[in-house]
């Protein structure tokens, strides 16, 4: 039996900087919290295909598990949590841009 679909976000790296980006349903945004949480598999796959069709903007788009939290969409796994902040040894990356 196929695995039931779990809610997902669409993410990729931006071509020019390699920066992590998320799809909010219309445009690509830097914050996971603002990403669109896909509840429908076909809709998610369509968005992924559209991102793959724009290699001039994005590298390596993929769908990954997430869920709704208090402050918007939250990652399901620690790897994705690190992608939303940046490294833990320096205040670089998204955490620095946000502040």
């Amino acid at each position: 039996m196929p695995k039931p679909f779990t809610p997902k976000v669409l993410t990729a790296s931006r071509l020019m900087e390699g920066e992590v980006a998320y799809f909010d349903g219309k445009i690509w945004v830097p914050l996971l919290a603002e990403a669109k949480l896909f509840l429908n598999e076909n809709e998610a796959e369509d968005a992924l295909a559209a991102a793959k069709a724009r290699p001039d903007l994005f590298v390596g788009p993929y769908l990954v598990d997430a869920h709704n939290g208090e402050d918007g969409v939250e990652p399901a796994h620690f790897r994705e949590a690190f992608r939303t902040t940046g490294p833990s040894n320096y205040f670089h990356g998204k955490q620095a841009e946000r502040s």
Binding site: G18, P55, H77, F78, F82, R83, P87, Y90, H92
Partner: protein, 555 residues
């Protein structure tokens, strides 16, 4: 130091021009990522977790002040003001922008550097003993041979698509500081019965998911036969190496599956043919290269200032005790500069620190610098009378941590703070261990200790050969750390044994403290190093310390 010939310069210029065109075509959309990825990787450009990463080769770990200053310039101008020195004697910049990379490569070419073959299934940067040319125990400086191997392997058409990546390490000393037994080919200089220098050739070592200690394929290979013999090994591997399964494609598996005897017979047969074909052309080239590595003119001067400072300044004495190594010229010393300040990121240096190191090399060190696989920087030739001045300048730049070879001198890969392959973080673990044992003021009492941390099974952090190895894994969505004990990267190489179930990040530090307490308790004398105690008593008492509740349950 070897300087690029016109041939080398033209080659790099041409390659950089090609890559500039490839980047432009990627940006304007005429190349897809699938088309571009192998091209960028051939030029050392990775896409990591948060940004691109550029890996630049530092052949056999040797730099001069001009190169180090250029790295500092690149760090400042195109990155975030620092660089990360790796366990393969490379430097990585963690934040370059795609559009800037062609300019960075041009800046590197200005100082005879490049990022070619720092990725892909080719022969990678040849690594060497970081004390090469300076060590008192050395038979010969291995770097001319390393440079010969670099020239031969760079853009070698036959070896551009090997079954898997291929790493060669070389040492000119019987004491192996280059972890030669954990490389695809390890070359250890030895003398034969007549006293002539040659190499013990080791093949099929490697870490990663299937760690193996290399096997001796030739006890003694005359120096002059090195290149045809290495080429013979590569040819046999290229033919036999498995291309059906990435995880079985390294030469260690080829040797394991076919047996060392079969590999040896095949290599010897090819070698017989190749030796004739080479016809000594490589030796003429080696002769030219050797001239570029002539030892510096060592000065003679009074060393009493050094002695006085040793006797009057305990901080200086502590630095001298841990960070100086015997030089072949007894009025000189090898100065190891620790990039492991307690709580800092192992292997990271700021642009300012790089400039200070360049200044020290230029002023006091015959313009030579080395990067060690242990992620430190070496000033290989410093006259003892200059060491106080060097120490003062290092101290002012936060570079005088006296911890070489101690528990806080930790190797750590970038882990999940940067690396797209990682399964857990390594850097914060290293930071915590170093800070904690500094706080406890136990570091010097513990003595020689090599902790090595990898953030995934690929083992860039060499955890298998750590006296204490730590492997970070993802266990059901939580970072989990496995401990191995008794590994050794020296001439007595050994793969560490897993102690038991892993620990969460929170459990790890207390577990390590229990482990160290047990060692201090059971060592035969205050001088018995941890690794010797492990060899003497085995793992049981250490397992009991790591897993006390199980020990109680078993009673």
């Amino acid at each position: 130091m070897y300087s690029y010939s016109e041939f080398d310069k033209d080659f790099i210029t041409e390659r950089n021009k090609q890559f500039r065109g490839q980047v432009a075509r990627r940006i304007d959309g005429s190349l897809t990522e699938d088309e571009f990825k192998p091209l960028r990787l051939m030029n050392g450009l990775y896409l990591q977790l948060h940004a691109y990463m550029l890996r630049i080769a530092i052949p056999y770990g040797t730099l001069n002040s001009a190169k180090m200053r250029q790295l500092a310039m690149i760090a400042k101008r195109w990155d975030k003001g620092y660089g990360h020195f790796t366990t393969r004697q490379n430097i990585q910049f963690n934040w370059p922008k795609l559009g800037d990379v062609p300019d960075i490569l041009d800046a590197l070419a200005e100082v005879d550097m490049h990022a070619i073959q720092t990725s892909g299934n080719c022969i990678r940067n040849v690594t060497a003993d970081h004390f090469a040319g300076a060590a008192a125990d050395e038979i010969e400086d291995p770097r001319p041979v390393a440079e010969l191997l670099r020239q031969w392997s760079t853009d070698h058409p036959e070896f551009a698509f090997l079954p898997r990546k291929f790493k060669i390490a070389i040492t000119g000393s019987p004491n192996d500081r280059a972890v030669t037994k954990a490389h695809d080919i390890g070359l250890r200089m030895v003398r034969n019965e007549e006293g002539a220098p040659g190499f013990e050739v080791i093949v099929g070592g490697g870490l990663g998911r299937t760690p193996m200690i290399g096997q001796v394929i030739r006890d003694f290979l005359p120096k002059a036969d090195l290149l045809p013999y290495v080429e013979a090994i590569l040819q046999v591997y290229n033919l036999l190496g498995r291309r059906d399964n990435k995880y079985k494609a390294r030469i260690k598996i080829t040797v394991h599956e076919n047996g060392i005897e079969t590999i040896r017979d095949m290599v010897e047969e090819r070698f017989g043919i190749l030796r004739e074909e080479f016809g000594g052309a490589d030796q003429a080239l080696l002769g030219e290269i050797e001239a570029a590595f002539a030892p510096p003119q060592f000065k003679t001067a009074d060393t009493s200032e050094f002695e006085n400072r040793l006797n009057s300044d305990p901080m200086f004495r502590s630095f001298a005790d841990t960070n100086l190594t015997e030089h072949k010229n007894s009025d000189h010393a090898i100065v190891s500069v620790s990039l492991k300040k307690h709580g800092a990121t192992p292997g990271d240096a700021t642009a300012n620190q790089m400039r200070v190191l360049a200044d020290m090399a230029e002023r006091y060190g015959h313009d030579e610098l080395r990067i060690s696989h242990e992620q430190n920087v070496i000033l290989p030739h410093v006259h003892k009378s200059d060491i106080p001045a060097v120490y003062d300048a290092l101290r002012a730049a936060d570079l005088a941590t006296a911890n070489i070879g101690l528990i806080s001198d930790i190797i750590a890969c970038p882990g999940m703070d940067y690396c797209a392959l990682a399964t857990a973080r390594s850097i914060p673990i290293a930071q915590e261990i170093a800070s904690r044992f500094d706080e406890l003021k136990l570091e010097h009492e513990i003595g020689p200790m090599k902790i090595k941390i990898s953030g995934c099974i690929n083992a860039c952090g060499h955890h298998h050969v750590g006296h204490i190895g730590i492997l970070g894994l993802d266990r059901a969505g939580v970072e989990n750390y496995q401990i191995t004990l008794g590994g050794d990267g020296s001439e007595a190489a050994a793969v560490g044994e897993r102690a038991g179930p892993g620990f969460t990040a929170d459990e790890l530090m207390p577990a390590l403290e229990r482990l160290i307490d047990a060692y201090l308790d059971i060592r035969a004398t205050d001088e018995e190093p941890f690794i010797d105690t492990v060899r003497r008593v085995g793992l049981s008492p250490f397992k009991a310390a790591l897993y006390p509740s199980e020990a109680i349950a078993a009673e």
